[in-house]
């Protein structure tokens, strides 16, 4: 991109409307910010209710550090492979893009399996979300993140089907950009979740 085109693209009013790539990326950033605001409300609920165990089990009794460590490793690795898919797209390599996306999807799915196992185990021990406000906040916050990962997998699958059919056209490239932003944001939220819920919660 030439220097003149870059100035035009910043959208500060001198060069007219910004390029479509910038407009789409910017709009998606705004969506991600709104999503983070939504998570912050669930984090706030967690902060208020974390000690309201109603005589039931607390985080120290329930959380399994090894499982959470594995979940974290899977998700961080999936972020890495997701980054690789962006590089492969830039290099116009269909095979590597698909492989990197496949790896991202499998790692994400493995994360979801571990999370589902954790949830099922808690419910089986009588520590479901109905047990106490603490567990309600836990299931909602962690589950909301899990739902986002699941929605991401659906999106990812759709794109993996689309790229070989349609090739690397501009709309798809922009969608890939957005998907990358989305996936990394889920990672950032997981880091917050890991710290605030599991690390601080296990100590409480």
């Amino acid at each position: 991109m030439s220097a003149a085109a870059h100035v035009r693209a910043t959208g500060h009013g001198q060069g007219g409307p910004a390029s479509k790539r910038i407009v789409v990326g910017y709009g998606f950033w705004l969506f991600l910010l709104s999503d983070i605001v939504m998570f912050s409300a669930f984090f706030a609920a967690w902060a208020v209710l974390a000690r309201s165990t109603a005589g039931g089990p607390s985080g120290r009794d329930l959380f399994e550090p090894s499982r959470v460590a594995a979940e974290t490793a899977l998700l961080l690795a999936s972020s890495f492979t997701c980054g690789l898919s962006a590089l492969a797209t830039r290099a116009r390599s269909l095979v590597w893009t698909e492989l990197a996306l496949l790896a991202t999807g499998l790692l994400g799915a493995a994360f979801l399996v571990l999370e589902a196992q954790e949830f099922a185990g808690l419910v089986a021990r009588g520590a479901g979300p109905q047990r106490s406000a603490f567990l309600s906040a836990f299931f909602a916050l962690v589950g909301c993140h899990g739902l986002h990962v699941a929605a991401g997998l659906l999106w990812l699958g759709t794109m993996m089907a689309q790229i070989p059919v349609k090739g690397f056209r501009a709309t798809l490239e922009r969608r890939m950009l957005c998907f990358n932003l989305f996936w990394h944001t889920l990672d950032i939220i997981w880091v917050g979740l890991f710290t605030v819920v599991y690390l601080l919660g296990a100590g409480a």
């Binding site: 959208g11 060069g15 007219g16 705004l30 409300a41 406000a133 309600s136």
Partner: protein, 662 residues
């Protein structure tokens, strides 16, 4: 098969909702029959329902808002008449369980399905024109946002006849809204209607913010944007920051109701005050989401009808952004009686008083804009003047309520009801009517009838004060809000006066309807051929009325504030040399938005009535729509240069005719 839905869901034994539903149904069927008889389905489908043109979507938002405003007003008529009748020994005509639904529906509808679509519709229509561009950032997304809002509105109206609406007030405070105390579907209707429409609002906020920050005409720097664009930006930023909190809060209440969670319950450690805090963390910014664009409309009108640039433009920008930020720091004044303690209440009381400073700056700016100008008292200007008078008094009663000791006495009384109607009717509703009157010629190519417009204003203005002044007095006497029956006979005269005020307001609404009909019938006489009927200042007035699909044949080069005024002064509206027309790519119409709206309605209805298969089917349908949309190969149409030239030459001919006359 049908979950909780049975024939008993229809209130066969209650005549009022049945008659209302029959009327709505008859009106809908009548409209459908009219469209079929005149063979306009193709036109409607191609030009409106599947349209991704921001102007068309804006108009549809406004129509939806006006219809819902009427519905909410009918609720208001019932409430005021019930309170006037049910004093002492009389029981009135509305049983408590029905009355409770009416005041809940009134608030929900007026704020979320009346005021929001009206404000959003005007922003959608005007902002791209003022920025000098051809469309919003995400046209298809824009259409989806509208249809999601319409889906939410539809669900609220379905509750009139299938099942019931919430009896919990417009914000469903737990524990009353929990399953233990509200086992019916009323709260569920509220939850899903608001969730779906809230998603539409979020889409709109993202779309407009991106448009204003990234899609502007060449030369349109931030400090050259018309004031309305600034307020639309502030409002959209607030939507992005506040609506997700509402989504999360209502999701928590939904989990409590559907899955036995304990966020807000009395038992197992739930915390009821957390709901109140979270919901007002959205609810207070929501007030400014509505009123900031109204401030923008008034800024445009004061400046245009005084023939002067807006006084203190930069201070107006600063005040807008100040209000935008501080609106997040005052939420606790909605519940000083929570028991947060003196320090907490003092902090929020002071913050609340400080936010009035930003509004004060604006009021002085508007007054100084008129000072020394050639003020024209046309209909939009009357609404603007009525607004300043009404809003300042509403603001002052608000500052009174911001003092915690006073609030302890006045909270939950009719004084509070009078206060927030004073600012919301005086601010938002007057603003929207001013805006409709002001931009109507731009949208449809002819003006609204002037004398009928003025009559409507005077009726609304008088009716407002006759309705709400008695409520201030009643509040000071100790009458609490939401009373289905009034025990104190001494209050009766005040309630009668207030009911009489509603009659005046109804006359105002009628005159507005008549104004619309008369204006349509006399449209040839009221035709605006210049595109600039008010001698306007910003770029929307440089386009023909109504503007072509692409708005601007050649993107304007903006040299400063009040771009169109500047061009007129310098006689630059006529291009010196022949413009070079190029083909214009416009986004293709798509049914994606309306189809998503249909599936959202089905999903909402399914989840309200626990019809799980329908929920799954709706989800699959929505996902399939998304895939079909993602798969399409052509997303733009091209308007050939010859066609652009033909349309623009007609505009230039109009301008020439105007300049010769001048």
């Amino acid at each position: 098969m049908l979950g909780k839905l049975t024939w008993e869901a229809v209130p066969w034994n209650q005549p009022i909702p049945l008659i209302a539903a029959a009327l709505v149904l008859a009106a809908t069927l009548g409209a459908l029959a009219f469209v079929t008889a005149t063979g306009r389905w193709t036109y409607l489908w191609r030009e409106w329902i599947t349209s991704v043109d921001h102007k068309r979507i804006g108009v549809m938002y406004v129509l939806l808002g006006l219809a819902m405003l009427l519905r909410g007003f009918i609720d208001a008529v019932m409430m005021r008449s019930q309170q006037a009748l049910a004093v002492g020994h009389s029981a009135g005509y509305l049983p408590p369980e029905h009355y409770d639904q009416i005041f809940s529906a009134h608030g929900t509808i007026m704020i979320l399905f009346g005021a929001m679509p009206l404000v959003v519709g005007l922003m959608n229509f005007v902002v791209p024109l003022q920025l000098g561009v051809r469309d919003v950032a995400f046209p298809t997304f824009n259409s989806t946002g509208f249809w999601l809002t319409a889906a939410g509105a539809l669900l609220v109206n379905v509750s009139l006849v299938v099942g019931e609406f919430a009896r919990t007030g417009w914000l469903p405070y737990p524990p009353l809204s929990e399953t233990a105390y509200s086992p019916g579907v009323g709260v569920d209707y509220y939850l899903w209607a608001v969730q779906i429409a809230g998603l539409g609002s979020l889409i709109n906020g993202i779309n407009l913010t991106t448009t204003i920050l990234k899609v502007r005409a060449p030369g349109m720097g931030y400090l050259r944007m018309p004031m309305f664009c600034w307020t639309a930006l502030a409002s959209s930023l607030l939507i992005i920051a506040a609506f997700p909190v509402l989504t999360a809060t209502l999701a928590m209440l939904g989990l409590d109701r559907y899955a036995g969670f304990h966020f807000f319950t009395n038992e197992a450690g739930g915390n009821q005050m957390m709901f109140v805090n979270l919901v007002w963390a959205w609810g207070h910014p929501e007030v400014y989401i509505l009123v900031l664009p109204a401030f923008g409309i008034f800024s445009e009108i004061f400046s245009t009808f005084s023939g002067k640039p807006l006084f203190g433009y930069r201070s107006m920008v600063a005040a807008t952004l100040f209000i935008c930020v501080v609106s997040f720091m005052v939420w606790l004044h909605h519940f000083f009686t929570m028991g947060g303690g003196g320090d907490v209440n003092a902090a929020f009381g002071i913050a609340t008083s400080i936010i009035a400073v930003g509004t004060g700056v604006k009021v002085y700016n508007w007054i100084f804009t008129m000072y020394g100008g050639e003020v024209r008292f046309e209909t939009p200007m009357l609404w603007a003047l009525g607004f300043v008078f009404t809003f300042v008094i509403g603001g002052m009663t608000g500052v009174l309520l911001a003092v915690p000791p006073a609030d302890f006495l006045l909270h939950n009384s009719l004084f509070l009801v009078a206060h927030f109607h004073n600012v919301i009717v005086g601010g938002v509703v007057f603003g929207v009517f001013a805006g409709i009157e002001y931009w109507f010629p731009k949208a449809f190519g002819f003006r609204l009838h002037e004398r009928l417009g003025k009559a409507a204003f005077w009726l609304a203005f008088t009716g407002f004060w006759v309705t709400f002044t008695p409520l201030y007095a009643l509040g000071l006497m100790g009458m609490t809000r939401r009373l289905q029956h009034v025990d104190v006979p001494e209050w009766r005269p005040w309630l009668y006066v207030s009911a009489a005020g509603v009659v005046i307001l109804a006359a105002g609404a009628l005159v507005q309807a008549v104004q619309l009909v008369v204006s349509i019938r006399r449209r040839e006489a009221l035709r605006d051929v210049t595109g600039d009927p008010w001698n306007g200042r910003s770029l929307e007035w440089s386009t023909p009325s109504p503007p072509p699909a692409f708005n601007f044949a050649v993107l304007p080069q903006v040299q400063g504030l009040d771009a169109h005024w500047r061009a007129k002064q310098a006689h630059l509206a006529q291009p010196a040399d022949k413009p070079r027309y190029e083909p214009i790519a416009t986004p293709r119409n798509t049914a994606t938005g309306v189809v998503v709206g249909v599936f959202a309605t089905l999903m909402g209805f399914a989840v309200i009535w626990h019809i799980w298969w329908l929920l799954a089917a709706g989800f699959v349908g929505a996902y399939a729509t998304f895939v079909v949309f993602a798969w399409r190969d052509r997303d733009e149409d091209e308007i050939p240069a010859r066609e652009v030239a033909r349309i623009d030459r007609a505009r230039l001919a109009g301008l020439r005719a105007r300049e010769t006359r001048a």
